[in-house]
C-alpha cells in the first residue's frame, strides 16, 4: 500500500515537472495577479487636464494604496503615507489622477534648502510575464516614469521663477549680456531644468535600474497639480500609444503601475521618497458612470445571502461534527 502511494506520488511529481517545463518554455506562468487593480474606464465627457478637481473624476473608481519609505539605496527616506489613484481614458489619451495628504504646499526650489512637492507614476516599457523591479526597473525590463514637479507647476502658473523672484531685494549694478543665450550654457544646450518657457509640469523619464534615470527625448506627458485644504491632486495625461521606447496602453489591455510621492517640506528629493509596489492598471472599454450599477441595499442583500448560505452550512457542520 505504502509503495503504491509512493509510486503514485512519484508519478504526480513527474507529471507536474513535465507540465512546468512546458509552461516555462511557453513563457507562461500558472498564476494570475490578485493585486488591487486601477481601472481606467472610458470617460464620456472631456477630461480637463488643467483642473484636477473637475467633477468628471467623481465617475472614476478610486483605489487607495499604501506607500513606504524608499529603503533600497542611499539616500533612503520617505515614510508611511497613502495615495488615492483614479484613471480614465477617452480612447486616445490616458488620464491618471493622484491625490495625497500634504500639510504644506512646497513649490519653490530657489534656495539650496528648498525642495518641491512632487509625484510620479511608473510603468513597464515593455509588456511581458515579468514585472520590472519596482525600484526604477532593471536593464532587461526598463520603466517609463512620469514625474510631476510642484516647482515646474509654479513656472507654468506664475511664470519662470528667476533670481529676482527669489531675492526681490537683491540689487545688481550691471549684468552684461543678460539677453544673450550663449551666457546661459544650460539653457542653450537644452537642459530641461533651465527652461524658462515650460509647456508641461510633468517630466517624462526612462530608467533601467536605479542610478540610470534619464530624461526622455520626447516630453509628451501633460498634467497639472493643485493643492487644496491639505491635499494635493495631480493629473497626468498622455496619448495611449506613442510608439516604441515608452510605456504603451491599449483598451482592454493591462499593464502595471507604481506610485511615488515627495514632500518638499520634509526635504524629500530624488531617492528620498515614499513608494508603492506595482499594481495592475487596466484600460477598460466600460463607460465611467460611477453611479453604482447596484445600490447599497442590493450589495447588502447579496452579502447577507452569501453569508447566510455559508453560515447555514457552517452551523450544519458545527452541529454535525463531534468534538
Amino acid at each position: 500500500m505504502q509503495a503504491t502511494n509512493r509510486w503514485t506520488a512519484t508519478a504526480i511529481v513527474l507529471v507536474a515537472f513535465v507540465a512546468a517545463i512546458v509552461l516555462t518554455l511557453s513563457d507562461i506562468r500558472l498564476a494570475s495577479s490578485q493585486t488591487v487593480t486601477l481601472v481606467a474606464k472610458q470617460a464620456e465627457a472631456e477630461v480637463p487636464v488643467d483642473d484636477p478637481f473637475d467633477r468628471i473624476w467623481n465617475r472614476a473608481n478610486p483605489i487607495e494604496t499604501p506607500l513606504s519609505g524608499q529603503q533600497i539605496i542611499q539616500p533612503k527616506g520617505g515614510g508611511d503615507r497613502a495615495v488615492t489613484a483614479r484613471a480614465l481614458h477617452d480612447n486616445d489619451r490616458l488620464y491618471v489622477l493622484l491625490e495625497w495628504d500634504d500639510d504644506t504646499e512646497d513649490l519653490m526650489v530657489g534656495h539650496l534648502t528648498e525642495f518641491t512637492d512632487a509625484a510620479a507614476l511608473q510603468f513597464p516599457v515593455s509588456e511581458g510575464e515579468s514585472v520590472p523591479s519596482f525600484c526604477m526597473g532593471d536593464p532587461t525590463a526598463p520603466v517609463n516614469i512620469w514625474q510631476w514637479k510642484g516647482a515646474w507647476q509654479t513656472d507654468i502658473d506664475q511664470g519662470y521663477v528667476d533670481i529676482p523672484d527669489i531675492y526681490p531685494n537683491a540689487s545688481v549694478d550691471t549684468y552684461p549680456f543678460e539677453d544673450e543665450d550663449e551666457f546661459y550654457p544650460a539653457r542653450i544646450v537644452g537642459n530641461i531644468y533651465a527652461e524658462t518657457d515650460r509647456t508641461t509640469p510633468v517630466d517624462n523619464l526612462l530608467a533601467g535600474s536605479f542610478g540610470t534615470i534619464t530624461q526622455a527625448d520626447d516630453q509628451m506627458v501633460n498634467g497639472s497639480g493643485e493643492w487644496r485644504n491639505g491635499s494635493w491632486r495631480v493629473v497626468f495625461a498622455r496619448d495611449l500609444d506613442v510608439g516604441e521606447g515608452y510605456s504603451r496602453f491599449s483598451v482592454n489591455e493591462s499593464t502595471n503601475v507604481a506610485f511615488a510621492v515627495w514632500d518638499g517640506a520634509e526635504n524629500e528629493r530624488n531617492g528620498v521618497k515614499s513608494v508603492s509596489q506595482f499594481l495592475t492598471l487596466t484600460v477598460s472599454d466600460e463607460i465611467a458612470e460611477g453611479a453604482g450599477g447596484i445600490d447599497g441595499w442590493q450589495i447588502a442583500m447579496i452579502a447577507i445571502g452569501m453569508a447566510a448560505l455559508v453560515g447555514v452550512l457552517a452551523v450544519f457542520g458545527w452541529r454535525g461534527s463531534r468534538p
Binding site: 506520488a9 495577479s33 457542520g317 461534527s321
Partner: protein, 335 residues
C-alpha cells in the same frame, strides 16, 4: 521540561501514525517545499537583487540561468500546489470527524477551483471575486473545522486564528476594490487601508503566537545550530538594512509583501520568532507537517498577490491545523 512538552503538541500527535496516505503525501509536500524555496530564492530574491548587480560575461549567464530556473520552479510549485491542495481537501472532506463540514468545504473548493480557472483564462473581475471570496471563506472554514474537530490547544487555536485573521484583512482590502469595480461604485471601500495595516500588524502578532504555540514547547530542539542559522539570517537583514544599497526592502516587499509601516525591529522580532519555531519543529520528527505548514505560510507572504500565493497559504494552514492527518487516519481505517 520543555523537551518533555515538545513530545506532546496536540496537532503533531496525530502525525505520528505511519499510515500509507501520509507516506504518499509526504514526498509531495517535501517536493512542493523544495520548489517554493527554489522559486523564492531564484525568482523573488536572486533575480530581484541581481538586476542591480553589474553584469559581465559569466554573471550574465548565471543571472539568466537563475531567472529561467526560477520560472521553472515557480511553475513546478504552482502545479504541485494545485494538486496537493486538491488531495488534502479530499482528505479533509472524507474525514469521518469533520464529515459534517464536507458540504461547505466541497462548495467552497469547487468555487475556488472554478474561480482559479477563470482568473487564468479571463481578466474579468468576477473571476477574481469568485476566487478571492472562496479562498477567504475556505481559510475561515479550515479554522472553524480545526477548532471544532481538532484537539487544538488554546495557543494553537490563537495562532491559527491570527494567521487567518491577517489573511482575511488583506482579502478585505483587495476584494473590496474588486466588488466596487464590479458594481461600479466610485468610492473607496470603508476602512480599506486600515484593514490592510491591521492585517500586517496581525501577521506580526501571529508570529509571536506561533512561537508560543509550537516554538516554545520545543525550545530545547532549537540548539546552537538552529539559533545560529536564525541569527545569520537576521544579521544579514540588519546589515542589508544598514548598507548603502540595501536588499532589505526587496526582501521585505517582494518576499513577504509587508509595507514596513511598523518600526523595523518589530518585523525583525516577528521573523526571528517565526524562524525559531520553524527550526524547532524541523528538528522534531513528529512535527513534519507543522514545519511544512509554517514554511508555506511564511513563503506565501502577508500580501498574497497571486493565485499561487493563496494556494500556498491554504495548504499551509491546513497542514498546521492538523486536519490532513484527520483525513489520512480515516482513510487508513477504511483500508
Amino acid at each position: 521540561m520543555l523537551g518533555t512538552a515538545a513530545s506532546q503538541p496536540v496537532a503533531s500527535k496525530r502525525l505520528t501514525s505511519p499510515d500509507s496516505l501520509t507516506a504518499g503525501l509526504r514526498p509531495l509536500a517535501i517536493t512542493l517545499l523544495a520548489a517554493v524555496l527554489a522559486e523564492t530564492l531564484l525568482l523573488r530574491i536572486v533575480v530581484r537583487v541581481g538586476v542591480h548587480v553589474p553584469k559581465h560575461s559569466v554573471f550574465t549567464g548565471l543571472f539568466e540561468a537563475a531567472s529561467t530556473l526560477g520560472s521553472l520552479a515557480f511553475n513546478f510549485a504552482s502545479v504541485l500546489a494545485l494538486i496537493l491542495l486538491t488531495l488534502i481537501l479530499t482528505f479533509v472532506i472524507t474525514n469521518k470527524r469533520s464529515r459534517a463540514f464536507s458540504p461547505l468545504i466541497v462548495f467552497l473548493a469547487a468555487a475556488l477551483f472554478v474561480g482559479l480557472f477563470l482568473t487564468l483564462v479571463t481578466e474579468a473581475p468576477e473571476a477574481d471575486a469568485l476566487f478571492g471570496v472562496a479562498a477567504a471563506l475556505l481559510a475561515l472554514t479550515v479554522l472553524i473545522t480545526a477548532m471544532r474537530v481538532g484537539d487544538l490547544t488554546p495557543a494553537v487555536a490563537i495562532a491559527l486564528g491570527l494567521m487567518v485573521a491577517a489573511y482575511l484583512s488583506y482579502e478585505y482590502y483587495t476584494l473590496g476594490y474588486v466588488f466596487y469595480r464590479i458594481f461600479d461604485v466610485a468610492a473607496i471601500p470603508p476602512l480599506s487601508l486600515d484593514a490592510l495595516r491591521l492585517g500586517e500588524a496581525l501577521a506580526m502578532v501571529a508570529a509571536g503566537a506561533v512561537f508560543f504555540a509550537w516554538g516554545l514547547p520545543r525550545w530545547g530542539n532549537i540548539g546552537r545550530a538552529g539559533a545560529a542559522v536564525v541569527t545569520v539570517i537576521l544579521l544579514a537583514l540588519i546589515v542589508a538594512g544598514l548598507s548603502p544599497a540595501s536588499t532589505m526592502a526587496i526582501l521585505a516587499l517582494w518576499t513577504t509583501g509587508v509595507s514596513l509601516f511598523l518600526p523595523f525591529p518589530v518585523y525583525l522580532l516577528a521573523l526571528a520568532l517565526f524562524l525559531l519555531t520553524i527550526v524547532a519543529c524541523f528538528r522534531d520528527r513528529q512535527a513534519t507537517w507543522i514545519t511544512a505548514g509554517l514554511l508555506l505560510v511564511l513563503l506565501a507572504g502577508y500580501m498574497a498577490e497571486s493565485t499561487y500565493q493563496h494556494l500556498l497559504f491554504l495548504i499551509g494552514i491546513i497542514f498546521v491545523s492538523g486536519l490532513v492527518l484527520e483525513g489520512a487516519e480515516r482513510s487508513v481505517e477504511r483500508a
